[in-house]
């Protein structure tokens, strides 16, 4: 059988997630993410009233979509989808027009306050290319994050995605996200924080 091309994917097993923010901290440290912006973060939502209540965690990273709208709208090809599925930003190409930020349905992009260009999670492609796992995967104390090649049937991520009921965030947008979740609660996605003006 001919080996298919690599297609990276990430899976969050929310049954194991304890909401410790270790992934967010590791990401900040690995990628030199400035103060005030995040490449990965954990949204926390509480359903119900004590004692009949439960906290739900939603760790968020870039979905590295199959049909990324950020790549469509980038006027200068600074956002590119690699053949292995990782969507990354060329830091020398980006003009900081913020259109990708406006278009991203997941709000994962930010303007680096120091470099003035768009940045986001790209599954630590510098580590992945060197044969390592992304920083958040290594930091997770409960092994709730699985990363690997979705097209390799023997990989842990392919097995887990196949054998579990998985969801993605906002499938209706039509971007075909490749960050999957086991045990995703709809309230954790849809609950919105009131914003001050």
């Amino acid at each position: 059988m001919k080996k298919k091309a690599i297609r990276y994917a990430m899976l969050f097993d929310l049954r194991k997630c304890i909401g410790c923010h270790a992934c967010a901290v590791a990401c900040k440290s690995e990628n030199n993410v400035p103060l005030g912006v995040w490449r990965s973060w954990v949204k926390k939502v509480e359903k119900g009233q004590y004692p009949n209540s439960k906290e739900f965690f939603l760790p968020l990273v870039c979905n590295n979509c199959e049909k990324p709208i950020c790549v469509t709208v980038c006027p200068v090809w600074a956002s590119i989808r690699r053949p292995d599925g990782i969507v990354y930003i060329d830091p020398h190409r980006c003009i900081g027009c913020r259109y990708c930020m406006a278009a991203c349905p997941y709000g994962v992009r930010y303007i680096n306050p120091l470099k003035k260009i768009a940045e986001k999670c790209y599954w630590c492609h510098h580590r992945v290319d060197a044969g390592l796992k992304p920083a958040c995967v290594m930091a997770c104390p409960t092994d709730a994050i699985i990363f690997g090649d979705l097209e390799d049937p023997e990989s842990e991520v392919a097995k887990s995605v196949t054998k579990n009921a998985v969801q993605v965030i906002k499938p209706e947008i039509g971007t075909a996200p490749h960050t999957f979740y086991i045990g995703l609660d709809i309230a954790a996605v849809e609950a919105k924080q009131e914003r001050e003006r």
């Binding site: 939502v45 209540s53 469509t72 709208v73 980038c74 913020r98 406006a102 997941y106 609950a191």
Partner: protein
């Protein structure tokens, strides 16, 4: 059931005031240009005094507009990337060429108009109309491509922008023509006939604009949950004072009443209506751009 967000991050705004101003200025420019071609392209003699004023205003406003883009982008020194690395799928790429071609065409069209070369003026006027429509229409596509933002992601956005551009263009023309006639013409006499027919034109464009806004709102309020939230934001939420009172009541409905009721058909009232429209359309851009990205996505 109670659902409470205990922790989430606050996202940066993508667009904001600069982009709203930029959209507003391109709209004013496109509207003025289209009015200018009414006489010199389509031969409507009564609008002839608008020709030269229209093209001068259209050119000046469009030369100012891109500076708001340069302020907005993080790396203005890399703006040349827009002309070298072309992603033709991105509306910004369409715009970077339109923003070069359209002012050049405006200048050529204006040059022949001032040289009284009617045939070439007509030709460049007709070239300019699709350019003017595109230079503002593309800004509607910029927002419509933001497919997660319910207020932006509608096929009505380009036409909504164009109609409001024409409305604001007429209002600006009325004000500019009055100032020009009053202070800079030989006779110091205002062409009241022209102002009144412009007022009539503006009144019916306002009706068209209100129809489009209403269509958008009706569909938003029965569409998916994010769309309903967007409709709520502008009808009853934080942007409702700006949207309902400033944009629609003061900026459209009151000027429309002033323009159609016969006893208000006097110069001072038309000036008031035009000022209200010019300000109201600015807040239309502001509500669409800033309101559209106000609601958090996650």
């Amino acid at each position: 059931m109670d659902v409470q967000v205990l922790y989430n991050i606050i996202h940066q705004d993508a667009f904001g005031l600069n982009i709203a101003i930029y959209f507003y200025l391109t709209g004013l420019s496109a509207g003025s240009f289209i009015l200018s071609t009414l006489a010199y392209g389509f031969g409507l003699e009564k609008f002839k005094p608008l020709g030269k004023v229209g093209v001068v205003v259209a050119t000046i406003v469009l030369i100012i507009a891109p500076f708001f883009l340069l302020i907005h982008i993080g790396m203005p020194s890399r703006a040349w990337h827009l002309f070298v690395y072309l992603n033709m799928a991105s509306p910004i790429t369409w715009g970077s060429f339109l923003l070069i071609l359209y002012p050049i065409n405006c200048i050529i069209y204006g040059y022949f108009m001032f040289k009284e070369h009617m045939k070439l003026t007509r030709i460049f006027g007709f070239i300019g109309i699709p350019l003017a429509i595109s230079v503002h229409g593309y800004t509607g596509f910029i927002l419509a491509f933001g497919k997660a933002r319910a207020l932006w992601n509608t096929a009505l956005m380009p036409i909504l922008f164009l109609v409001s551009a024409v409305v604001s263009g007429i209002a600006l023309m009325i004000l500019v023509v009055i100032i020009k006639d009053r202070f800079f013409s030989k006779e110091k006499k205002i062409d009241k006939e022209l102002i009144l027919s412009l007022g009539k034109l503006m009144a019916w464009m306002i009706v068209f604009d209100l129809f489009l806004v209403a269509s958008d709102l009706i569909v938003l309020s029965i569409s998916h949950s994010d769309a309903q939230a967007a409709a709520h934001l502008i009808l009853a939420g934080k942007f409702s004072p700006l949207f309902l009172i400033v944009e629609n009541l003061l900026g459209k409905i009151i000027p429309f009443i002033i323009l159609i009721v016969p006893r208000f058909r006097t110069l001072p009232w038309i000036i008031v209506a035009s000022i209200l429209v010019v300000v109201g359309i600015f807040f239309m851009r502001y509500v669409v751009v800033v309101g559209g990205e106000f609601a958090p996505l996650l």
